[in-house]
């Protein structure tokens, strides 16, 4: 039984190759990919409407920041984590408490951050 069987995930990642990697890792973990989007506009739409348990947000989307999507998710009470090549400094203070994945990352790191994110939700 995969650790996150049935967990519905939204992937926001602007580079196709990386998105493929994340998707495969998530599938390995038993997750269901509800949507995998590359652009901010579509990401906002999905974040606002999709029925999901978790979102993985790439910070930089073709030069745009993903934080408007994070706000929507926070407001909806949906857990999320950031994936970034910038390191923690790329995340503003208001989202400082959210887990951050530093690219490149391993499947075990993803699992750990997802666990944190979901626990974070459970505790709030």
């Amino acid at each position: 039984m995969p650790p996150f069987a049935g967990v519905r995930v939204l992937v926001v990642e602007d580079e196709g190759a990386i998105a493929m990697l994340i998707e495969e890792m998530l599938e390995d973990l038993g997750c269901e990919i509800v949507a995998s989007v590359a652009r901010l506009a579509t990401a906002r739409d999905e974040a606002s409407t999709a029925y999901i348990d978790l979102a993985i947000l790439d910070v930089n989307l073709a030069g745009e920041r993903v934080f408007p999507v994070a706000e929507i998710l926070r407001d909806r009470g949906i857990p999320f984590l950031f994936s970034t090549g910038y390191g923690t400094s790329g995340v503003p203070g208001e989202f400082a408490g959210y887990p951050v994945l530093h690219k490149p990352f391993s499947e075990s790191e993803l699992l750990q951050r997802m666990t944190l994110a979901l626990r974070h939700r459970a505790s709030t």
Binding site: E15, G16, M20, P104
Partner: protein, 724 residues
Amino acid sequence: MSNVEELPRETLAPSEYESLVSIGENALEAIPGAVYLCDREGWLVRYNSEAAELWGRRPELGVNGDRFCGSHRLFLTDGTPLAFADSPTASALSTGVVTRNQEILIQRPDGSRFVALMNIRALRDRRGVIQGAINCFQDISAQHAMAEELRRKSADLEDFFENSAVGLHIVSGEGIILRAHKAELALLGYSEEEYIGRPITEFHVDEPVIGDILNKLGSGDCLENYPARLRAKDGSIKYVSITSNGRFEDGKLFNTRCFTIDVTCVHAAEAARQESDDRLSATYEAATIGIAEADVDGRLLRVNDALCHMLGRTREQLLAMTFLDYTHPDSVEQDATLYARQVAGEMDSYVLRKRALKLDGEIVYLDIHSSSVRDASGEFRYGVRVLQDVTLAQRMENQVRESERHMRNVLEALPAAVYTTDAEGRITFYNRAAVELSGRTPQLGDLWCVTWKLFNTDGSPLPHDQCPMAVALKENRAIRGAEAIAQRPDGTRVPFNPYPTPLHDADGNLVGAINMLVDITERKQAENRQKTLIDELNHRVKNTLATVQSLAAQTARNAEDAKDGDRRFEARLLALSRAHDLLTKRHWENTPLDALAKEVLMPVFGLEPDRITVEGATIDVGTRVALNFTMTLNELAINALKYGSMSVETGTLSVSWDLQPQPNGTLLTLDWREQGGPPVARPEREGLGSRLMKRCIERDLGGQFDMTFAPEGVCCRFSFLIGA
């Protein structure tokens, strides 16, 4: 008059009185003079016509007629009224006193008066009893008046002689002083005894002078203000002016009358004036500054040597011109206007620095001090101009000014904000850059700094009196390495480095400070940019690594075998690397699409101009498009090489694209067409390459991707929006 006394007295009978009464009036008339007779009581009994004429009346004779005198009224000579009862005649009757030559004033009925000289005698009988009196009188008014006149004139003369302010002496023909009056004695300090009776030559200082005087007078000449020197008793020498003439009797010089006027004071004053003039003149000429006198029109009346030298012109040249003639044209109007106002009395004097021309055309700078000499009524007489050649000073001043101007220009031109203050921190200068940096125009006199508000680098307010410039001035040391932030009135902030440096005079005293504020906004921005760049680079590296990680994982998972996986991974990695090379060449900025296409295809196929055609309109694409385009084209190329038209030598490949303007960018449509390869069959399942390409075009670039496996060759068409 003695005629009465001479009457015969030896006749014993009748008595004198009786005889006189009896001789009758005719006898009295014979007497040459006025005569009258009174009886014992004083009643007039006889008078002659001359008496009546003098009285101006004819008195009543006998008892109850006129008594004592036949005149209208009597006065003493001093004008006191004299009653007839007190008259000499009355006295003669009462006391027998004889009156001789007494002068009595008689007034006639018509008011006229005359002085009468009276001789009165009592007439006695043989026993000596007074029987009457006889008065003989005569009018001596004329003599009296003459004597009075003489006396008065004499007194006047004496007074004039004695009290005249002018010295006066009389010298005999032999040169002996006969007489000298008080003023002359006082002048020389001698007593009469010491002076009068001495030869005049003794008192003259200059022998030839007195010789000449005496000669002239002896030959009948008059002396008029003849200058001479006399020796006073105290040894001092008196300068005198002598006016004299000789008095001749029988053609011989009898004496000389000399008026001596003491002109010692005048002489002294004259000498003093002369000396003063000489000295002034000498001073005038010896002065190293120019001095000139000018008339109303500025014509030069007098100039000294210094001025001639100063202007390189001769005295004659200068005296033939006005001071405006040698004035530089630029200074003429100012000097002329000022001088006219001075002449008109609107101003007493003025000072002016002007330029003047020497004869040789050289320009000199002169400081003019102009003033006026006026007469007692204030009327302008002439202008006095004192001139100083300040050419050297002016030249130095010009140099200093020029140097200062140069310095200011340099400071002004400096791209850094520069300002100066005095020792108290008051701003004395600032340049344009200072205005730009502070965002305001400082006021001269503002304290410490040109900026509006100051902050420390940590954002805390920095009061102006604690700013680095204030510290530099207060502690008299240069400050280096400081950094602060200036806020402009519009709210914008400028980070800057100040370089406050105290300024000292030649003696080392603090006289102010200069500060340079170097705007480090750009450096700060560059630092930020660099940080952003590093972040960006980090991001790309990390993303690229993640991409490589993904490619490796995907390739391995989808490979037919380890060797195939290895080869494919290598090809993908190299494609990715080439894309990065291209982007690096272009500094990660826009890249031309055709160059990109050739760069991807060349390494895969080699140089095959006959088999491969690449054509399309020129367009630049961004990094994101370039990366995805590269990856896509690479996947297509690898497939073509392994399974498609490029796997055999007869196959061809055509890559062409078309651009279509869209409202939100340019739509690129690319056709990949393989021909002449082995027959194509649709793969059983979608490979990693297809999935990657779709990801790149559809997902990442939001475009459309369509691939057909036609038997004659693979055709792929994809399109996406550039610049969206």
